[in-house]
């Protein structure tokens, strides 16, 4: 397999009890590529995303991100906690419900990874964290607690927190699904900016118009399998499978992205 692929997933399987959530999934993400994962709820897309940084440990198959490769299934030993932690430090993840640390200020949230995981000196970490907050347009919120922020601001802090670890890839797990409609744009805007900077990303989303605009590849999943995949515009504008067509018929697929004028 060509090493130009940043993420390479082969024959991935995962069950929760008797419920087989992922059935033999293959996925490649090119360096600098943006892959959108779409599908109805329960299709396994979030589980697949969580298998990429091993927040969910697969039952079988291979996962490679950059130079780090893991094999799962018969005969392979589960990675120990130190190995897992070191691996996850190279991947950034953004959650649907932000999961900011409520007992820390915005600045401390963003500094936490560099200080605790990378053992960076506090002053350097603060410089880095302030730069990341500025990048998502929240420099002036550094000393506030998350509880005082809007949903869109919280999610942008969460993105800054992930970026402060200077990850190789970014994973977005329905990053805008918990937001009020008028706040979606400011978050999508940040993600779009990351894409234009060449960040490798996998995005689980229900924002089909956004996926069409920003992703170069799109994967439609249902019931734990990849039903259809291809260039994002092609799949969205001209789906080949009946299931994809049925799913996409629920969305406005084109048109302007939600306005990003909420960004200060």
């Amino acid at each position: 397999m060509s090493e130009t692929q940043k993420i390479e997933i082969r024959s991935l399987r995962k069950s929760f009890g008797s419920n087989e959530v992922l059935k033999n999934i293959n996925l490649d993400v090119a360096k600098g590529g943006v892959v959108a994962l779409i599908g109805p709820s329960g299709s396994g897309k979030s589980t697949l995303l969580r298998c990429i940084n091993l927040l969910v440990v697969p039952d079988g198959g291979n996962v490679r991100v950059g130079d780090t490769r893991f094999a799962f299934g018969d005969g392979s030993k589960l990675p120990d906690v130190k190995t897992l932690a070191a691996f996850r430090a190279t991947t950034g993840m953004v959650f649907q419900h932000f999961n900011l640390f409520p007992h820390m200020t915005t600045l401390q949230n963003v500094m936490e990874g560099p200080v605790t995981v990378r053992r960076m000196a506090k002053t350097n970490a603060e410089t880095l964290a302030r730069a990341q907050l500025a990048k998502v347009g929240l420099a002036e919120k550094a000393d506030q607690y998350p509880a005082t922020l809007s949903g869109g601001q919280k999610q942008r802090v969460a993105i800054a927190r992930a970026l402060a670890m200077e990850p190789d890839v970014m994973l977005f797990d329905e990053a805008t699904s918990a937001l009020d409609p008028e706040l979606v744009g400011e978050v999508l805007n940040v993600i779009q900016q990351l894409a234009s900077e060449g960040m490798t990303m996998v995005i689980v989303t229900h924002e089909i118009a956004f996926a069409r605009e920003v992703a170069n590849r799109l994967i439609f999943m249902r019931d734990g399998i990849v039903v259809e995949e291809g260039p994002a515009r092609q799949v969205i504008d001209n789906p080949q499978e009946a299931a994809t067509r049925a799913f996409l018929s629920h969305f406005h697929r084109t048109g302007a992205l939600p306005p990003a004028n909420a960004v200060p």
Partner: protein
């Protein structure tokens, strides 16, 4: 009509002060040791390892579900006979009360930890933290805030439970007041004064903790 005469207690003031000193010192020891046992019990019951979980569960239920008075007597009288472990009354009662308190603290600490949203530890893990870093930096600081009222409540109970050590002739406030009551033939005055002494220490403490809670809640 009963004639109250609290003046008579003045001549026993050193006895009372002595007893109060023992009671307060004893409480500090059993709260600190109890919290240590509580931490062990809580982390044991949350462990990935089955043996640790079962051990912690056995400890918690044995001490939580038997009367403290029975435990005190058992530690002092039964252990020397069954296990050949001789203990002074003070050691026996400190150990029994610490373990008894520890079983309740365990459940409070465990409850506080599991009450923190799973997303918090997932966010820590996603940043590359090990489970112990996540526990120390993310989960515990939030969980402790939620535990404080219940831990305080349990510690108040522990403070009052020290009165039971008088059965092993440990010279705490209640034991000394028994001495004073027998000597003065004034049990009503004596035990009223003892009750007031317990309340006089606890009420200011509860006020301080209530204030602290409010201050902690500000950052939420």
């Amino acid at each position: 009509m009963y004639q109250w005469d609290f003046g008579i207690l003045w001549s026993y003031r050193w006895l009372f002060l002595n007893g109060l000193g023992v009671t307060v010192g004893f409480t500090i020891v059993i709260v600190v040791c109890g919290l240590l046992f509580g931490l062990l019990g809580a982390f044991g019951s949350l462990s990935r390892f089955r043996t640790l979980r079962l051990g912690a569960l056995a400890f918690i239920e044995v001490f939580r579900c038997t009367p403290i008075l029975v435990q005190l007597i058992w530690f002092y009288y039964a252990l020397p006979i069954l296990a050949g472990v001789e203990m002074t009354p003070i050691t026996a009662s400190a150990l029994a009360l610490s373990l008894y308190g520890g079983s309740f603290y365990s459940e409070i600490i465990r409850g506080g930890i599991v009450s923190i949203d799973r997303g918090q530890s997932e966010a820590g893990a996603a940043l590359g933290m090990t489970p112990s870093q996540t526990m120390r930096r993310i989960v515990l600081p939030q969980a402790i805030k939620r535990m404080i009222p219940a831990l305080m409540n349990q510690s108040i109970i522990q403070f009052k439970n020290t009165s039971l050590v008088s059965v092993l002739a440990v010279p705490d406030l209640v034991y000394q007041s028994q001495v004073a009551a027998h000597d003065s033939y004034r049990p009503l005055e004596t035990y009223t004064a003892v009750a007031v002494a317990y309340a006089a220490i606890l009420i200011p403490l509860t006020i301080i903790v209530r204030r602290g809670e409010k201050r902690l809640a500000v950052s939420e």
